[in-house]
Symmetry: C2
Subunit: 230 residues, 2 copies
């Protein structure tokens, strides 16, 4: 349900377009309020988006673990169509974690995040006391594009196993990124990863955006990544 679908001229879409525009506007307004609230409370909110299997959960588990080791108050919300596999993996870090199961929906929306925050508050977790809230979106390089979650940092992950041209083929999402993280850099050689081609593709779609290269396995690039999300 990406907004760019509205460019389509398929039968029936003008009516979908109207309803969608309304829903997106509502989402935008809520996200704006949430962002103001997070900013006032000093909570860094990071919306992490990628293909399925690009390594979001692996990176975020390590992120929660290391930030907690440094004494930071961190928490995570994770979205999946089904299963709480990722929440269980993230919770191994010891941080508070909540799983959203979307039951088929291809992206997270601001009101879903808001509902999880309210549930936390009801359980006694003061969201305003967090330094960093990580949101792991549904694995999808298209549909999360238009759904602002109130984040202060939107990160798009791409793994070296996916092919260097992904930014060119999914420009909408990459174009909304504040930061691009190339993951699984430890597999670069095995995958014949062409670093220059990947960087050129990112630069073409989102000129000037920061790019980090990381491996949650070897730890490469994690210091710079941790600095970015704190």
């Amino acid at each position: 349900m990406s907004v760019s679908e509205t460019a389509s001229v398929h039968a029936g879409l003008p009516r979908i377009l109207q309803v969608r525009t309304k829903i997106l506007k509502k989402n935008d307004e809520l996200a704006r309020e949430m962002r103001a609230g997070f900013a006032a409370a000093g909570v860094r909110v990071v919306n992490v988006v990628s293909s399925p299997g690009a390594g979001k959960t692996e990176l975020l588990t390590e992120t929660l673990r290391q930030l907690r080791d440094r004494g930071a108050a961190v928490a995570a919300i994770v979205g999946d169509l089904e299963t709480d596999n990722d929440a269980r993996r993230l919770a191994a870090s010891g941080a508070p974690v909540r799983q959203i199961m979307t039951h088929g929906l291809c992206h997270l929306e601001a009101d879903m995040v808001q509902a999880e925050l309210a549930a936390w508050e009801a359980e006694g977790l003061a969201v305003a006391g967090l330094q960093t809230l990580l949101i792991e979106n549904v694995g999808n390089l298209v549909c999360p594009t238009s759904w602002d979650l109130g984040e202060s940092l939107r990160v798009v992950l791409m793994s070296v196993t996916e092919g260097e041209d992904k930014p060119l083929k999914y420009p909408g999402l990459f174009n909304t990124a504040d930061l691009v993280v190339i993951t699984k850099i430890d597999l670069a050689e095995a995958c014949r990863f062409d670093r220059a081609a990947a960087l050129a593709a990112i630069e073409q779609v989102r000129p000037g955006v920061s790019v980090l290269e990381t491996s949650a396995i070897t730890g490469q690039g994690l210091d710079r990544w941790l600095a970015a999300v704190q």
Copy 2:
């Protein structure tokens, strides 16, 4: 725009649901007609779906090349949000290839395929003379689920680099698969791929479905794959 979104209870969705149900019904009717036409003409139509970067284009390029070597009349249609990169890669096989650029839409629809077939006919390619038509869908494990393209075989690819639990996390799409292909099997060791866990996840979501393991690089499993799409 997966149909399973209709399970959501978010504001405004009842109206979207109605419009969507209508559009999907129209798509289903067209797809059914197209499937009957393909069957009458003896054209095997394969709808290939996966995450971005799971290796669809690599596998299909090799497939077109090898089927042509065997004298088969084959062609391919490929969908991407932007770029004709994949069409150019597939066309290196020598087979007729058409690129659909969806400009933001997260899946292919039957009428898009129909339009490309009409364009081919206008150019003098007799679609009814084909043995196999490969359709490479947009890279997305959610949204193509509900969109029948008139295929006789729906194949879901998952690469060893993506994690073994993808079927559990994206059950909708895997549940519509006639065949699951595990790709990039040459990278299994480098990725610490857990074959038993992956097979168990597939079996849990789609009991009894056939599973192939392939590598477009080493050629492993390609004979069985070629037999499946012929």
